[in-house]
């Protein structure tokens, strides 16, 4: 037996599918009242960033299709007309935990993409490895670290030289 809110949700989805030119919602389609289209959209974008969208958890084929249609719609709308969001989709969620995980994914994707964009060629991510193993946090973290500067012997020598210079300067506080 469907609840009033579920019926309402299905009605909204049916209208949305009709507007997108998609097939009608069937009784076998899963409906998760906690799903949030914005969350799903972010999750899909993260999937793109990690080069492994197929491994994203919690996205049914219908949800993935809705996300892509939403993205396509936004691109098209941005080109021809202002976009008006449906306030219902933004408000209808109670998925705080899932949202925080996806927020974490988005953060990590951002962190991982930054060194790919700015790191010198010697620290570029191994594309073949990324394709084979989704995300490998260790090598990516190392790439970020390398982009920050020297470590180990070169850095120790640099710090020693700096310290000696400061001592020679009668204890100045220059870092």
């Amino acid at each position: 037996m469907k609840t009033t809110s579920e019926t309402s949700e299905r009605s909204v989805i049916a209208e949305e599918l009709a507007a997108l030119g998609e097939a009608e919602l069937t009784g076998s389609d899963p409906l998760s009242p906690g799903d949030d289209l914005d969350v799903e959209t972010v999750a899909t974008l993260v999937g793109i960033a990690t080069a492994d969208p197929a491994s994203l958890p919690g996205l049914s084929p219908l949800a993935q299709r809705r996300v892509w249609k939403r993205l396509e719609g936004r691109v098209a709308a941005a080109a021809f007309a202002p976009v008006v969001d449906d306030p219902h989709t933004a408000a209808a969620n109670d998925s705080g935990g899932w949202r925080s995980i996806v927020a974490g994914l988005a953060m990590a994707a951002g962190f991982l993409l930054v060194p790919r964009l700015i790191a010198p060629s010697s620290t570029e991510i191994d594309v073949a490895e990324a394709d084979g193993g989704a995300m490998d946090m260790g090598p990516d973290a190392r790439a970020m670290l390398d982009a920050l500067g020297d470590n180990g012997a070169p850095r120790a020598r640099s710090m020693a030289a700096d310290y000696a210079q400061r001592l020679a300067g009668n204890g100045g506080n220059t870092p």
Binding site: L105, A108, A134, N151, A153, A156, R157, M159, A160, Y163
Partner: protein
């Protein structure tokens, strides 16, 4: 699949860690507290230590295997002069170098965890410096080798958070 689970755990931790609350037992702990290391007043004893560490790191560069490990362990045993704030960074970087050398040894991962885990304990404040990130990443690598996914995910997440903070500092 395992890598994906590890990455997902680390990513989730990144979000949760913003609250810096202790996680449930067995889950990744990505709490992070940092402090800036201000340059200390230079002294001859301080210079001797800093130059000794640089010499050890340079010597280790030319060595491999157990000889490299021994040289770096001797560096870790050098007494630190009082009031040398920079020693915190130098020791973390030295420990990370030692950890990387140990990871190339059979069963070295457990030794690395014993070495680095107390140095970058979640309860302690870490220097806001890339040496801390390097030590955390090395700890994460060791944990991943022994399939301690919670420690690996937590360590990588802390390293990424710390490097993010560093980037923000560099931008300012």
């Amino acid at each position: 699949m395992k890598r994906w689970c590890l990455a997902l755990a680390a990513c989730g931790v990144l979000a949760v860690a913003a609250c810096d609350e202790a996680p449930a037992s067995g889950e990744p702990d990505a709490r992070l507290r940092t402090h800036a290391v201000e340059p200390s007043t230079p002294t001859p004893a301080g210079l001797a230590y800093v130059e000794s560490v640089a010499a050890v790191q340079t010597e280790a560069e030319a060595l491999q295997g157990p000889a490299r490990v021994r040289a770096l362990q001797q560096g870790m045993a050098l007494p630190v002069p009082a009031g040398l704030a920079e020693a915190e960074i130098l020791r973390l970087d030295l420990a990370a170098t030692l950890g990387e050398a140990l990871l190339e040894q059979p069963d070295g991962a457990y030794t690395v965890i014993d070495l680095l885990r107390p140095m970058v304990d979640v309860e302690d404040s870490l220097p806001l410096d890339r040496a801390s990130a390097r030590a955390l990443i090395t700890l994460g690598d060791a944990a991943a080798q022994v399939e301690d996914d919670a420690l690996a995910a937590g360590s990588y997440a802390r390293a990424i958070r710390l490097m993010s903070l560093l980037r923000q500092e560099l931008v300012r």
